[in-house]
């Protein structure tokens, strides 16, 4: 059986890539995808712990998280489309009407 630390390492690497992507990328869609990667890293942690502890709570939670992530994608993509219509760019640096 694969030890739990292997799963945790993988999840932390995914989480790190996601966080790095949000902070470094200037493309709104890529930033959004990076956030999704972070959420899925958390899902992996939940499943790994759930399996290691032998408690099903984690498995169930993952389904809820998937639903939430889908809702978030619906809202987020709609907003990206709205701002793209008005500004014709998805570069976050160009959204500078309000000072960061």
């Amino acid at each position: 059986m694969v030890p739990i630390h292997a799963y945790l390492m993988l999840a932390m690497i995914l989480f790190g890539i996601g966080a790095f992507g949000v902070l470094v990328s200037r493309n709104v869609i890529v930033m959004f995808m990076s956030v999704e990667l972070m959420l899925n890293a958390a899902n992996l942690v939940l499943i790994a712990f759930s399996r290691a502890l032998g408690v099903v709570d984690g498995h169930v939670f993952v389904f809820l998280v998937l639903a939430v992530a889908a809702a978030e994608a619906a809202v987020g993509l709609a907003m990206i489309i709205t701002i793209y219509r008005n500004r014709e760019t998805i570069n976050i640096d160009r959204y500078n009407l309000l000072k960061w």
Partner: protein
Amino acid sequence: MVDYVSTVNPDFSLIAPELALLIAASLVMVFIPWRRMPVLAPGIIMVGFIAAFAYALGQWGHQSSGFAGMVTCDNFGVMFKLIFIVASVLSILLIGQYMKSRGIDKPEFFVLIAISAIGMMAMANTTDLVVMFIGLEVMSLPLYVLAGFNRRSLESNEAGIKYFLMGAFATAFLLMGIAFIYGASGTTNLRQVVTDFNYIAAGRGMYLYAGVAMIMIGFGFKVGAVPFHAWIPDVYHGAPTPVTAFFSVAPKAAAVAVLLRIFLYGFADVALVTKAFWILAVLTMTIGNILALRQDNVKRMLAYSSIAHAGYILVAITVGTQEAISAAIFYVVAYTFFNLGAFAIIALLETRMGAQSEFSELAGLSKSAPWIAVLLAVFMFALSGFPPTVGFFGKFYIFRAAVESNFITLAVIGVLNSFLSVYYYLRVVKTCYFDDVTEAQKPVFVPATVGLALIITTFGTIGLGLFPQQLLDFTRQAIFAFL
């Protein structure tokens, strides 16, 4: 055959306020195409809020849990539910002509506020981290849409997208934190985390610390604690003003409720938490106040001031005694009234053509609308913490609790910060009363609903300032069942 009804205990009276609001929101949502809906929607949602308020009052004093431990009803949760309802109702009342003047008076607005309030209530009404997470998302998703509600305004678009990205980023941290807490303790229910705590500390301390730290980062974003505050001024500035008013109070109160629950109930024994909150509180107060000093836009100034106010509440969370928690709840109630009052006036002034809520637009307000100027001054005095407004007692109780528990340095930094904040709040008053008018002021029209909102907030600000003891007794009872 497992007897689900007795083990799960689906007692719907525990979630009656949420259900009442959900019914009202669904009703409006389903019938949105009906052409009379825009007129009826505020009324239907208001009825939902009133029913929710009545149900929540009925829950006061009962302590029970149901839905397999997922929903816990206690005075603490009920207190916060009442705060959310009052904040939402006041935010709806203070709209007045604002949405119409921007061409965005859509019934969806009221639905989004109601759904967001349902999420907040779910957050306050549980000791389970899973439900807290779902509640947080149900609260946040409508908020992202509300920030970008004025979809033809570039500022509003930008506020929405920035809020969405930062909010989703924070959510990911929070979720990772919950996952690690789950890994450390084998449960997501804070009650069980508390009872099993010694066992966790023995074996899986690392997971626990990682989880606690990540949850702290996640909620740091939500309450707008420095260094996670960068989104607040932009979002508050860009969003439509009634929405900003809602943002500055209700989601903050929800995040404070969950922070109190998680860190003063669930992880009260984790040693590093106090130190981390000490640093967060000092940074949040100081940087919020310093950045507020140099703002020329009133909305942006209030955004930074809301960061500073979150800092004062974090002081109470750092101290963490019973006194401090009741002081924190007291402060949230007080802040709800005077901050919404201030935003009501800003929204009112913005319904004049071409207004940008810059400081210069306030000049001469004492001549063109003397009553509005007086009320604005009252709210500014309350925000800066002058007696006899409730703002003074809110700060006084927090700092008293800090001194009593030997957090002298923290209390001194807090008091110095409130002196610093006097400068920028009184700058508003000075501009209203003493600055030269550059152009003729347009008269301010006060719709009846805004008038009502102003009356309620003024009574809250001054009335509770004259009788703070009564409110404090209430918040003491709210804490009683919780610890």
